[in-house]
Amino acid sequence: MTTSLVRIEDKLYQNRYLVDTGRPHIKVRQHQSPSSNLLALTLVCPANCYEVNEDGEVEITADGCMECGTCRVLCEESGDIDWSYPRGGFGVLFKFG
């Protein structure tokens, strides 16, 4: 990919997070082949939380999530994902916002 010269990891590194280890607030439902919206998340998620794994399934690592809700808007209704907010105090903590 030539579109992102800057790595998203470097951007997220600026942010402050309190990760709730072992309790991800978003889960992807098991699937054979991803829906088009679920696949779109691998590009559209602003924190790059979604990736296609070796089995062709979309999976999520929610650690860098900025809790914007884009994936909820695109994929909750179809049942592709289960969406919640992190427990109180956990997740992204904006210094400026």
Partner: protein, 435 residues
């Protein structure tokens, strides 16, 4: 055993939640406010511009101690193609008034300040607490909330849903739907730090004067979108947002869009040498009047972004949020002072008051704009900006071509790109949606 019961629970400590909690607490109501962040503001993201009038109505002397960055004296609107911008700048010394009209703010700091006022007014603010579900009685009346803390339901006469554009409680209870992808924009934003004097020099500012740039055009790659640059005291807020439905259709990466915007020859020199300290993402309600959900029910009201109260045309959001929160607070206090129960019938006062305010009047004025922009994004955000740039360059560049030929070439380019009928039709539809 006595169960503590509040007059009102406010879910969320953003602009609308703080306005509602402050208004009710200062009228003597027993208010509990829940915030899932570590401190008020830690989950909130905005550009951000504060409109003084709406805050003044709530806290008249806010200028004495609110954390304000710069008061705005100049507004630039840019239409951009890949190498140029065609701009309209408005700058006036009139904005250097004793009580300025608009300020830039940093939300994490501003929300902490607002929350201190809420506490001082007598409300209990409980942070690090995620409200997970509304509690309803057998008749479907809201009687409180469930949280992720131990201890069961927290009871209240009424719950104010100030939970933001992506609020969970109202949608889980079926009071409103999760926003549609074409009714919300995803914005990404960075905080670029520069010395105060460098910002002043680059934008021609002195003291606490500020400047705003809002930009549309090929920077959104044919999607319906807007870029912005706001000057703070020692930083620049820079961001770009486009409709979620357009992102899903084009599969553009939001941060690649932001990087391209930063690299644009008109923006790059304004940011040169800056240190980036935060990257944020947030949804913005763009559905307008037609997306406003049911605003009240038995034991609940909804305010701010959660109620889609955002004027996308004028880029006004937080002032609508604050005003809706204040009005909801006033309505609830009135119902309470009359000794009436918080039923749907009595809480309809909130909607009646909101309908009379600028909030709903402004949104009603532009009710057809979201659909027009959504269905014509390629013309408005790609074709026209390119044509405008060509026309401006044609006008400015001197190369010995007779002026009459230049004019014909410009007209021909517009007709070729959109046809005469298309041009007239776009103009008429835009005028109608604006009217």
């Amino acid at each position: 055993m006595t169960v503590e019961k509040f007059d009102a629970i406010v879910v969320g400590a953003g602009m609308s939640g703080n306005a509602a909690a402050y208004t009710m607490a200062s009228r003597g109501l027993k208010v509990l406010q829940l915030e899932r962040g570590e401190y008020p503001g830690s989950k909130n993201v905005q550009g951000a511009i504060l409109y003084a009038n709406m805050l003044e109505t709530i806290i008249p002397d806010f200028r004495d101690d609110a954390p304000l960055e710069r008061h705005l004296v100049e507004q630039r609107f840019w239409v951009m193609d890949d190498t140029s911008h065609t701009g309209m700048h408005y700058r006036s010394d009139d904005f250097n008034e004793p009580a300025p009209n608009r300020y830039t703010i940093i939300r994490a700091q501003f929300d902490k300040w607002f929350s201190r006022k809420v506490r001082a007014a007598g409300a209990i603010v409980l942070c690090e607490t995620t409200a997970t579900e509304l509690a309803l009685d057998a008749d479907g009346k809201v009687i409180g909330v469930h949280t992720d803390r131990e201890g069961g339901i927290i009871h209240a006469e009424v719950v104010v849903l100030a939970e933001g554009v992506n609020g969970l409680l109202g949608t889980r209870a079926g009071f409103r739907k999760v926003p549609k992808p074409e009714a919300v924009a995803l914005a990404v934003k960075e905080m670029h730090f520069l010395p105060e004097e460098v910002i002043a020099e680059r934008f021609g500012l002195s003291g606490d004067q500020g400047c705003v740039i809002e930009a549309a055009g090929t920077i959104s790659r044919g999607m319906a979108g807007l870029g912005f640059l706001y000057t703070n005291k020692e930083s620049i807020s820079l961001g770009i947002g486009c409709l979620v439905s357009d992102f899903a259709a084009t599969m553009e990466r939001p941060y690649a869009l932001l990087e391209a915007f930063k690299g644009h020859p008109s923006i790059r020199p304004l940011l040169a040498g800056s240190e980036i300290k935060e990257y944020a993402a947030h949804l913005i309600p763009e559905g307008g009047f037609k997306a406003i959900p049911q605003l009240f029910g038995n034991g609940w009201v909804v305010v701010g972004d959660a109620a889609q109260l955002n004027n996308a045309v004028h880029r006004e959001g937080s002032n609508l949020a604050m005003t809706s929160g204040r009005i909801a607070g006033e309505a609830i206090a009135m119902v309470k002072s009359r000794g009436r129960p918080m039923t749907s019938e009595n809480l309809s006062l909130y909607k009646a008051m909101l309908d009379k305010s600028f909030v709903v009047k402004d949104l009603r004025k532009y009710k057809d704009m979201p659909a027009l922009i959504h269905t014509n994004s390629r013309n408005f955000f790609m074709t026209y900006p390119q044509l405008l740039s060509q026309a401006a360059q044609n006008f400015v560049r001197v190369d010995g071509t007779p002026k009459i030929e230049k004019e014909r070439a410009t007209t021909a380019a517009f007709v070729k790109a959109r046809s005469r009928w298309g041009l007239v039709s776009d103009a008429v539809r835009l005028a109608l949606a604006w009217r």
